[in-house]
């Protein structure tokens, strides 16, 4: 019904919309704008009419009126009903934004003062830039190395705070090739205004070309495996038999029983905490204080690589599938793809 409004929106005042949920959110935005404009005009005009019609005139007295319970109830309930529509609509869209589809491509973002570091599953990295294929759902898993940042792509109508000490995610499906602004939108210090970049949406064919190779160090999974060995993880976390430490194969996204009786899900955040603060949650049947904690010794990006490796030990996870679909690692540095033209003109 309101889908027709979105092309209208492109005509005036509108900022570019380049994602599926962006169009949906924009419809709601225009509904709210319509309500705002109508109410504002009603009130401005109402005041003007009353002020003129009931202006002081000689011989005319004001009529004292106590009130009207009927009106009070009416003008409480009616606006509230309109607001309920906004609430419901907004909650519905928000809910959809919390659950990325299973086939979403995962990209990992690390925010630090004052840059966005992007890591792709194939190991490719870039700074202050994100490349994604059109039509493909993309899930961003984000970590901060220092303060709270906020990752925002106005054209996609997505934003999420990036809080240190945990992972934050957002997802989107780009719908239009082009180049779009990427901003940090949580004040993070001196160069906050320069923690910006561009998101480039590529046609499928261009995307295959761009991402065809890998990073110099191999895919994320492979880099993670290297770190796993280098840091001695493999001495305790034996792959196929229980050592002094919980087994990691088939662990990702499964429930884990803890020593204090709680059951938690072994998601990305759990894995991250287990590496950086291992004594926070001890698995049932294991001793505390055995695993060294790697806080300060591993960067957020390295933790992301380790987690990619651990995820690859579980069947049927998107990252592991993508990792295995990549062509074999090319150790020699790959030529960077041709720089995409920054069509800022596409941005209002």
């Amino acid at each position: 019904m309101l889908a027709n409004l979105s092309p209208l929106a492109d005509f005036f005042l509108a900022s570019e919309i380049a994602s599926k949920q962006g169009s949906a959110i924009d419809e709601l935005w225009w509904f709210e704008t319509a309500v705002t404009v109508v109410m504002t005009v009603l009130i401005f005009v109402g005041i003007a009419i009353f002020a003129y019609k009931f202006r002081k005139r000689p011989g005319v007295q004001a009529t004292q009126i106590e009130g009207s319970t009927f009106l009070e109830i009416g003008w409480s309930i009616f606006p509230f009903l309109v607001m309920l529509v906004m609430f419901w609509w907004g909650a519905d869209l928000f809910y959809a934004a919390q659950t990325p589809p299973k086939d979403a491509m995962e990209v990992f973002i690390t925010g630090k003062q004052w840059m966005w570091k992007v890591q792709y599953p194939n190991g490719y990295r870039e700074i202050d830039a994100l490349h994604v294929p059109v039509g493909q759902p993309v899930k961003l898993t984000m970590a901060s190395e220092d303060v709270i940042h906020s990752f925002s792509i106005p054209a996609f109508r997505v934003r999420h705070d990036v809080v240190p000490g945990t992972y934050d995610t957002l997802w989107f499906t780009p719908t239009k090739p082009g180049t779009y602004h990427l901003f940090c939108t949580e004040y993070c210090g001196n160069q906050h205004a320069h923690m910006i970049g561009y998101v480039t949406v590529l046609e499928r064919a261009d995307w295959e070309k761009w991402s065809g190779g890998g990073g110099a160090g191999g895919s994320l999974t492979e880099q993670g495996q290297q770190l796993f060995t280098q840091n001695g993880c493999s001495t305790c976390h034996l792959l196929d038999q229980q050592g002094r430490c919980p087994i990691l194969r088939n662990l990702y996204n499964k429930p884990v029983q803890l020593a204090d009786g709680r059951t938690v899900l072994a998601d990305d955040a759990y894995l991250r905490e287990s590496i950086l603060m291992p004594n926070a949650k001890i698995v049932a049947g294991f001793e505390p204080n055995i695993m060294p904690n790697f806080q300060g010794q591993l960067s957020e990006e390295q933790v992301i690589q380790l987690i990619a490796y651990i995820k690859s030990l579980s069947p049927a996870t998107p990252t592991s599938q993508q990792g295995s679909q990549q062509p074999p690692v090319v150790i020699a540095p790959k030529a960077k793809p041709a720089p995409t033209v920054k069509t800022i003109a596409s941005i209002q």
């Binding site: 204090d260 603060m277 004594n279 926070a280 204080n289 904690n293």
Partner: protein, 226 residues
């Protein structure tokens, strides 16, 4: 003070009646409501820290339990007893003021202040102990008793110092208020017709005591097994 312009009125009225009040009852009522309202603000003030404590305790249950082991329960227990006694002596001071008993007021107030000073002295000793044992969060923090909780224990100790420190500040302010009362009692200011300050400061003192009654079990006792 420039409370000097008053409407012509009978010279005979309670010298303690402030001129913007219609009568002594209104004045006492207002003071009581005012002090209770102030104590509600104090509940919200400490409440923020208690909320943080509850949240982190539920997150880091074992680390918090481990920290109870290094708390000095005997000293904390002594302090609890001392404060309860001080509340008793404070209540007696209020009673003495209501009855106009000058000597009893002075003794009760002195006792209350004595207990308060003892409390602060014990607290200072405890803080010193924590300093020596490297239990102050920060670069010198050490927690050999349970090294696996090295990080999360610092959260507890931070809250320990914040909550007991804020409590101690309130005790010090209370001692100042008690000094004010002592001077007034010495000058026979308080009696059956006017004992409002004693009662109000008594309420404050009891409140500070109650805060400690919550702090002691939460910080010292839960999880302490010896």
């Amino acid at each position: 003070m420039a409370d000097t312009l008053v409407a012509p009125h009978e010279a005979e009225h309670d010298p303690h009646l402030r001129h913007h009040f219609a009568n002594a009852d209104q004045q006492l009522d207002s003071a009581t409501l005012g002090m209770w309202t102030f104590l509600i603000t104090e509940v919200l003030f400490f409440g923020g820290m208690f909320t943080a404590y509850v949240i982190y305790r539920s997150l880091y249950h074992d680390a918090f339990a481990a920290t109870s082991m290094v708390m000095n329960v005997p000293l904390g227990g002594i302090n609890t007893g001392v404060l309860i006694c001080s509340s008793l002596s404070m209540a007696l001071a209020v009673r003495a003021a209501q009855l106009g008993q000058r000597k009893a007021q002075i003794i009760s107030l002195l006792l209350t202040m004595f207990f308060g000073v003892v409390f602060l002295g014990v607290k200072a000793y405890e803080y010193h102990e924590k300093y020596i044992e490297h239990l102050i969060p920060g670069p010198n923090f050490q927690f050999p008793e349970a090294p696996q909780y090295f990080h999360n224990a610092q959260i507890l100790f931070f809250l320990y110092f914040a909550m007991t420190g804020m409590h101690a500040v309130h005790m010090i302010i209370g001692l100042g208020l008690l000094t004010f009362l002592l001077i007034g009692a010495y000058r026979s200011k308080y009696g059956p017709t006017y004992f409002t300050p004693v009662e109000m400061i008594g309420l404050y003192w009891h409140f500070v005591d109650v805060v400690w009654i919550f702090l002691f079990p939460l910080l010292y006792l839960i999880g302490h097994t010896k």
